[in-house]
């Protein structure tokens, strides 16, 4: 065991926000220590105060409305001084930011200034905190870019952020954060917006760099799986408080708090097939601010919902006897990428390139692949929201691509889509009740508005919302609630066939479980057929009977979800599966040992 040097002490931190409903304590009496060379993970759902904790440490809480009300954040400098970051002046704090404490943000797409080159932005930090000339700073930046394994560092130096991919931008952010060899590196959901394969390399990179400059990392995420990959210790936050903290192995092995148990159980497991996912609400409920434990064992909760091998086989055999509801034959969707002077297309982006598969009635077909693989375009092409270049899409014996407007309108009633972003797919100026009623009015189903309203309320109840929320506006709801409204809207026309396009990707793991369970229950109740599109293989595997792995517009592999996961024959699929953070105990122990070595 190596000697532990204290680096950062957070003592009784309270951060408040002034809202219309009075003062809200976003961080309430939080204390923890951070040692040099260590990675701690802060985990919790959105609104739990994990981001606010880290922003407090940087003193970047937007003021007004927020402020650090009380507490101490003591930073131990290399020469042994102890400085309370809450007390020092803004001017002094500026010399700490970027220099001693650096931060990486969730959205690499928007976290870099679009009007400056990447090199420029990294050099700015170096020039600010180190006494070097411009030429030296440029050299240091190039070295950093090489260290974060950016391809062609010289090009990146002069490239603007929009010319890089998401993963590359996050590498630039890491280079910027590491540039002054900070003591504490705070990473706020740095990989949430990235593909799993990219996530894996970024996590690896952060770990290597941390070791090299002997700093400590505070890693914030809602996903315990990621925590398992990188953290030594874990803090679990719930409603502004730390409800549990401890070594990563002990948290995974024997979680104490029911909320932690809920978080652990609600991740779609890769090695088992479950009927529904256990959720946080299975483990605890809140009464008058008191948390009451309902169930004590994670294993027990999972055991209750497990689907046996026989049942799986039975369902498979039964599905195969049904009608093929949808057949894709050589579907291609090309977008023009280059045009000559006269507007004639010179080159194409092959978003979907010769895809063929069938979907049986009542089945859930998963579509999985990294961003840009064409899975979303394929979903949109099936609904004719994107133009198909070639091929046939046969739905119940009719080629969707040949239908005229009137027939298409009929078809739209049967085929619905649930989009990724619950924030932008609802009109902010329309009450959720009207949003659900609108498709009914467009298609003229149900006789009167009164009937439609009754039906809407019924739908709201079906997706576990309250009837009195009918006249509320989308901004009053959380992401999970909004996604449920979107589901209710898709159900408004009594569809038979639903495409879920990354429908849970924007949600926290705990909320994701609730929405997935809802989708499964609806499938059983209404006998829906789903096409479930996601970049997250564990979610797709949990939802689907069969799945299709897509890469660069083409089908890489297709088959039963469990079979593909257990024996991936394709190299790309293997890579994808390997990159998923499993969160199994053996992995955690192995990772930890690797980090210590």
């Amino acid at each position: 065991m190596m000697e532990k040097k204290l680096l950062l002490e957070v003592k009784n931190l309270v951060t408040e926000f002034k809202t219309d409903d009075g003062i809200v304590k976003a961080v309430n009496d939080v204390s923890f220590d951070l040692y040099r060379g260590e990675t701690i993970g802060i985990v919790g759902e959105s609104g739990s105060g994990k981001s606010v904790t880290s922003l407090s440490a940087m003193r970047l809480i937007p003021n007004p409305p927020g402020r650090i009300a009380s507490g101490q954040i003591i930073y131990h400098t290399k020469d042994g001084k102890q400085i309370d970051l809450v007390k020092i002046s803004e001017k002094e704090m500026q010399s700490f930011r970027g220099n001693e404490l650096a931060m990486i943000f969730q959205e690499p797409m928007t976290s870099l200034n679009p009007v400056f080159t990447c090199g420029n932005q990294v050099m700015e930090t170096i020039l600010l905190h180190q006494k070097v000339t411009k030429q030296e700073a440029e050299k240091l930046t190039l070295e950093l870019f090489e260290k974060v394994k950016l391809p062609d560092p010289k090009r990146v130096l002069n490239a603007y952020p929009h010319q890089l991919s998401g993963g590359q931008k996050q590498r630039v952010m890491i280079a910027m954060a590491m540039s002054c060899k900070p003591g504490v590196l705070i990473a706020d959901e740095p990989t949430t917006a990235l593909d799993v394969t990219v996530q894996k390399t970024i996590l690896q990179l952060m770990n290597d760099l941390k070791k090299e400059i002997d700093s400590a990392v505070i890693f914030i995420t809602h996903d315990l799986g990621v925590i398992a990959e990188i953290a030594d210790r874990v803090l679990v936050m719930y409603k502004g408080r730390i409800v549990e903290q401890g070594d990563v192995v002990s948290i995974f092995e024997s979680p104490k708090h029911p909320y932690t148990k809920g978080l652990l159980a609600c991740r779609p497991p890769l090695d088992l097939r479950l009927r529904v996912l256990p959720t946080v609400t299975d483990f605890m409920k809140e009464e008058n601010g008191q948390i009451i434990e309902l169930q004590s064992s994670v294993e027990e909760a999972i055991k209750n919902v497990i689907v046996t091998k026989e049942d799986t086989l039975k369902r498979r055999a039964e599905l195969m006897t049904r009608e093929k509801i949808l057949q894709l034959k050589g579907v291609k969707t090309y977008f023009p990428s280059k045009r000559d002077f006269f507007g004639n297309v010179k080159d194409y982006v092959k978003a979907v390139d010769d895809v063929t598969f069938d979907v049986y009635e009542g089945e859930t077909m998963g579509l999985v692949g990294e961003s840009g693989c064409g899975k979303t375009t394929l979903g949109r092409t099936i609904l004719r929201l994107a133009p198909a270049t070639a091929g046939e899409i046969i739905y119940k014996g009719r080629n969707v691509l040949d239908l005229n407007q009137a027939d298409m309108l009929d078809l739209r009633k049967e085929m619905q889509i649930i989009f990724q972003d619950p924030y932008s797919s609802l009109n902010p100026r329309m009450t959720i009740g009207n949003a659900i009623m609108e498709p009914m009015m467009v298609h003229g189903i149900y006789g009167s508005d009164k009937e439609r309203k009754e039906k809407t309320i019924e739908l709201l109840e079906k997706v576990n919302m309250k009837p009195e929320q009918f006249a509320r506006y989308p901004h009053e709801f959380s992401g999970g609630q909004r996604q449920r409204v979107c589901i209710a809207r898709a159900l408004a026309l009594n569809p038979k066939f639903i495409i879920c396009d990354e429908s849970v990707s924007a949600l926290d793991v705990s909320v994701q479980a609730q929405v997935l369970n809802l989708l499964i229950n609806l499938r059983e109740e209404f006998k829906f057929t789903y096409i479930f599109i996601s970049h997250d293989l564990s979610v797709v595997k949990f939802m689907s009977d069969r799945m299709v792995v897509m890469n660069k517009g083409k089908v890489e592999e297709m088959g039963y979800a469990d079979d593909i996961y257990n024996n991936p024959s394709n190299e790309y699929t293997q890579k994808l599966i390997q990159a998923i953070p499993k969160g199994s105990l053996e992995d955690i122990k192995r990772n930890k040992a690797a980090r210590m070595a």
Partner: protein
């Protein structure tokens, strides 16, 4: 008074009304035109009649009847007139020539009735004169292209830099503009410069203090400034600050001052500047308020962006966060506004220039409008249309300069 004269007076209308009613009844303009020409010919033929005792009384009846035809439109009245005229012609052999014309008149009237097409009155008819129209002349001219031949009375048109001659004083339009343009340019250059000079720091200043008392007061004052009409402000300024009536005779009332040959350039500048203070103020305060509102709004949007948080997390001080990282991103709306202000800088301001009697482009075009001096109006309009396009082009280029994500290479 003879009875037919009474009848004539009874139905007497103005000739124009009679003609309009004829057209309304029959709707065939060529025939009606022919009929009127024939009346005139008949009238003319009476002048050649040899005067004697037989023609004395009947000649008068005839002439009165012919003259009254111009005010008649009812069929029976015209027919009655014809009958009386024919009776008069029969009175004397001297009317032989008149009789010939009279017969022609009857034929032409019959043609009006026979070819009546009143429905044509309700069907619009389109005429296409091709290139033979005034706008085309102003635009392209009627001179031969690529020839040095003198063609008196013909112009070479706007696109060949010939703006024609003013209707009012026959001076070339270009020479009138040459006198007016420098004043407008001077006025607007100063005003635009001041507006941008003050509005940008003011916008940034109040954005950084969003929600504070200082920001609220600034917002209120700027909003007030933005909504006060400049003609009112100009009138108030002239009334109170330029006469001794209220004891504040600080500024000249109008014009640009007198310059004589003996003044040094400094004295000239002082004299001009003294006269320009009020007009420049009137031109500036509105755009200043509007621009700084836009700047504040744009900057506030940018300050909420993630990359601003990144900049702060680097340890940059607030000044550098705002001026280096946020400012450039918030320039797009300011550039857009410049594109729309730019044409006005040349076309001039109607209000300020006419109230302060500054002989600039605004006053020139306003005077031209009132006196229907179309060559001047046309030229000013065309120039501002072109400048609008130039302004937009400039804005498009500036967008790409400011924001590397905008590129024209696609």
């Amino acid at each position: 008074m003879p009875p037919h004269q009474i009848a004539c007076i009874k139905s007497s209308k103005s000739p124009i009304e009679a003609l309009e009613r004829m057209i309304a009844n029959y709707g065939n303009w060529p025939e009606i035109q022919n009929y009127y020409v024939q009346i005139a010919a008949l009238q003319y033929s009476t002048y050649d009649v040899q005067q004697d005792s037989t023609t004395y009384e009947s000649g008068r009846t005839l002439k009165e009847n012919i003259a009254s035809l111009f005010t008649k439109y009812k069929d029976e009245e015209i027919k009655q007139g014809f009958a009386e005229m024919k009776a008069a012609i029969a009175q004397s052999p001297n009317f032989k020539g008149v009789g010939v014309e009279m017969a022609k008149l009857e034929t032409s009237y019959k043609a009006v009735q026979d070819n009546a097409t009143p429905s044509k009155n309700y069907i619009p008819k389109l005429y296409w004169y091709g290139m033979h129209n005034q706008f085309h002349r102003w635009m392209f001219g009627d001179k031969k292209w690529f020839s040095s031949e003198e063609e008196p009375g013909k112009g070479s048109g706007f696109i060949r830099a010939d703006f024609g001659f003013s209707y009012t004083d026959k001076r070339p339009v270009w020479s009138k503009m040459k006198d007016a343009l420098p004043w407008t340019l001077l006025l607007n250059a100063i005003s635009l410069f001041l507006a941008y000079l003050f509005s940008i720091p003011l916008g940034v200043w109040s954005a950084r203090r969003k929600g504070t008392i200082a920001d609220r007061i600034t917002t209120f004052v700027l909003f007030l400034m933005n909504s006060l009409p400049s003609f009112w402000i100009a009138t108030m300024l002239i009334t109170f600050l330029t006469t001794s009536e209220y004891g504040m005779n600080f500024f000249p009332t109008f014009g640009l001052g007198d310059i004589d040959d003996e003044m040094t350039w400094f004295e000239i500048a002082m004299e001009r500047g003294y006269h320009l203070i009020l007009p420049v103020f009137c031109l500036t305060y509105g755009s200043l308020a509007y621009l700084s509102r836009q700047m504040r709004g744009g900057l506030l949007t940018v300050l909420r962006q993630d990359y601003i948080r990144t900049a702060r997390a680097k340890g940059l001080d607030e000044g550098r966060v705002v001026w280096r990282h946020a400012f450039r991103n918030s320039l797009i709306p300011i550039i857009t506004i410049f594109a729309s202000i730019f044409p006005a800088a040349i076309a001039g301001s109607f209000i300020a220039e006419s109230i302060f009697s500054i002989p600039g482009m605004g006053k020139l075009s306003l005077d031209a409008l009132f006196s229907r001096d179309y060559p001047v109006v046309f030229t000013v309009m065309m120039l501002s249309a072109i400048l609008t396009m130039v302004g937009n082009l400039f804005a498009d280029i500036m967008y790409a300069v400011v924001d590397p994500r905008i590129s024209f290479n696609k």
